[in-house]
Amino acid sequence: MGARGGIWPAVYARMHWILLGLAALLPAVDLLLPPEFRLADLVRPIFIFAVLGMGLNIVTGFTGLLNLGVAAFMAIGAYTYAIATCDIYPFQLGFWTALPLTIAVGAAAGIILGLPTIRLKGDYLAIVTMGFGEMVQDSLKNLDVITKGTQGINPLPSPTLFGYVFKPETPLPWYYLFLALLAVVVLLTRNLERSRIGRTWASIREDELAATCMGINSMKAKLLAFAIGASFCSMAGGLWGAYLGSSGEPGNYDFQISIIALCIVIVGGMGSVSGVLLGAFVMIGFNAILLTKLTAFLAQHGWTSSDNVFTSPSNWKYMMFGLALILMMRFKPEGLLPSRRVKAELHEYDKDVPRQAGGATT
């Protein structure tokens, strides 16, 4: 990026605020459009997945640990939030007490998983987190006395803020609620990234051995990243529960969610906060907005037939999704809005091929 002069680097460094600002303006633009054009309703899940992506970005993008189990933390968050607020349980907390609780439980879960496993090398950790995802999903299904098993916990009460009730049928306040919470998460993430803690994470990502030789206790730093990442993911789960008005079924938090989160981070640009925001927009928007519209469009023109698997666009969704990922990695592996450091690491790879055996940059 350095090569480009002028205002660009400054814009680039503040891209996340620009993106959030654009998102804040979207409902206003929406008002000018007829109902079918409006996007604001569809964008709410994007905010939640952006929070999820933020959580994963801290672990994978900043610290370089591959976490394939964010769905588990999201599930823990959603169920904690649901159990804390739903009136079939005695706790019945409000949104603003349940959310911090959700975050705290997520962090605790991250530490419990991290303590015994954080020292494992890259891909060992990946499979353990992946297994953790399956374990949580199965446990939530099996402990049906507590979690209502596959029924899910619902419906959850609407959040309130200073006496104002967020009703499901008025999407706009929700939109700004989620946007505001996302902005807080972005702010915290940026602060951490630019602080001593973010520097420690980056040093571990670049060269863990050198970092430990400088006295950095990599276990503590990684555990911190893991816990913060887990708490953000858990927060995303809590928001998801609030948005759906339901904890969802345990089966909703399966490996696919972890994959989506990973794709958000990588498509957006590893270690880049603005990248995660854009990645969430592209990944969730791809499915929730573009594919839905496309299917409706094809159906409207009678170009699909329900009898034949080959003409139904829903049967091609996996293919489109998969090819998009492959092409993306082929032509822009650093993501849409890469962080400067990660991009530079990439170019370093271009220059000299040697691959480190331990893979410090997992």
Binding site: S195, R196, R199, A202, D207, M214, G215
Partner: protein, 343 residues
């Protein structure tokens, strides 16, 4: 009293003994060099000393204390805590559903006030009346696994490099291992990291304390850079530095750890004579700050120029030790180098 004392250090890779019963001593303010032909085990010795590799046997003492994470009462309590928590967690996990049912489900009538005290009591009653065999089994197993797991994890990290760094041993690497994509200043700041006091909350909310420390640490880091002659490059990205500067940056980063002894692994490799001379001067100035230096070097001019004492390794064995003048004329050393000693 010795600053660094290495006793019987042995390192094996499979069947190959890379370092064999190496012992030596570095006194405060000394510049001690280890030389030897390629593959003699010099770098392996460094790695064993700094905890990068786990030695088969032998020990490293800093100021008379073994450089290991100490087994203190706190560690013991930590183990017991982990064991207790695992045991409790497992018991709760095994009984999760009936316990929840006894304490919560049975006591909660839909939209009625919840009797918290009774719920607690019922929960405890359940735990008291639950079949002991299973709970005790779960608790025992949990405690055992918790204890063994904590011990196993702790033991593996006992001689980790960060422990050595904490004890005052800082090092550089043979192939420069800078954080290439960070700025020069950030590299040094990573070295200073253990001395910083910013905690998570300060950083996340950018509290004044954090900002103050940010200013102070940057000032200190710039000082170190000035000492290493790199203050002009402070904002440059490390990978953009010239080779000689990169080596200096590695030294600066190691100095930021505030070590009592600095281990330099071939700092002069690939340097031209001017750069090498500058390096010698830098090493002397480091010593001037009261930091001892342990040096591996092929560049004989540098070694002979700065060292107070030299040890010679061959096939992992120390074959000679002494003042530079003595080493120069030692026939065993000459034999080891097969006449290539004079570079």
């Amino acid at each position: 009293m010795s600053l660094l004392r290495v006793d019987d250090l042995t390192l094996r890779f499979g069947g190959l003994t890379a370092v064999n019963k190496l012992s030596f001593e570095v006194t405060p303010g000394q510049i001690y060099a280890i030389i030897g032909p390629n593959g003699a085990g010099k770098t392996s010795a460094f790695n064993a000393i700094t905890g990068v590799y786990v030695p088969a046997c032998g020990c490293v003492r800093i100021r008379g204390r073994e450089a290991k994470r100490p087994f203190t009462r706190r560690t013991l309590w930590g183990f017991l805590l982990v064991a207790a928590l695992t045991a409790a967690g497992l018991v709760l996990a095994v009984n999760a559903e009936p316990l929840w049912e006894a304490a919560i489900t049975m006591n909660y009538l839909y939209q009625q006030p919840f009797p918290w005290a009774k719920a607690l009591q019922d929960g405890l009653t359940y735990l008291r009346d639950v079949e002991w065999k299973y709970s005790a089994g779960a608790a025992g197993f949990g405690a055992l696994v918790g204890l063994a797991g904590a011990w196993s994890v702790w033991r593996r990290a006992r001689c980790a490099p960060d422990v050595l760094a904490g004890a005052g041993v800082a090092r550089t690497f043979q192939n420069s291992r800078l954080f290439h994509q960070m700025t020069v200043l950030d590299n040094v700041l990573v070295g200073m990291d253990t001395k910083l006091r910013t905690r998570f909350w300060h950083a996340a909310f950018r509290l004044p304390r954090h900002r103050r420390e940010l200013r102070e640490s940057s000032r200190k880091a710039l000082e170190i850079l000035r000492f290493a002659g790199l203050e002009k490059e402070a904002t440059a990205v490390a990978s953009s530095l010239s080779y000689g500067h990169q080596r200096r940056l590695e030294i600066a980063r190691a100095l930021a750890v505030e070590p009592v002894i600095l281990l330099l692994d071939e700092p002069a490799a690939g340097m031209n004579p001017t750069e090498a001379a500058g390096l010698m001067e830098l090493i002397r100035r480091i010593r001037g700050r009261g930091i001892a230096v342990l040096l591996i070097e092929h560049h004989m001019k540098v070694v002979m120029g700065v060292s107070d004492e030299i040890a010679v390794l061959e096939y992992g064995n120390k074959i000679a030790e002494g003042k530079p003048e003595a080493i120069k004329i030692d026939p065993k050393v000459r034999a080891a180098y097969l006449g290539t000693a004079e570079v």
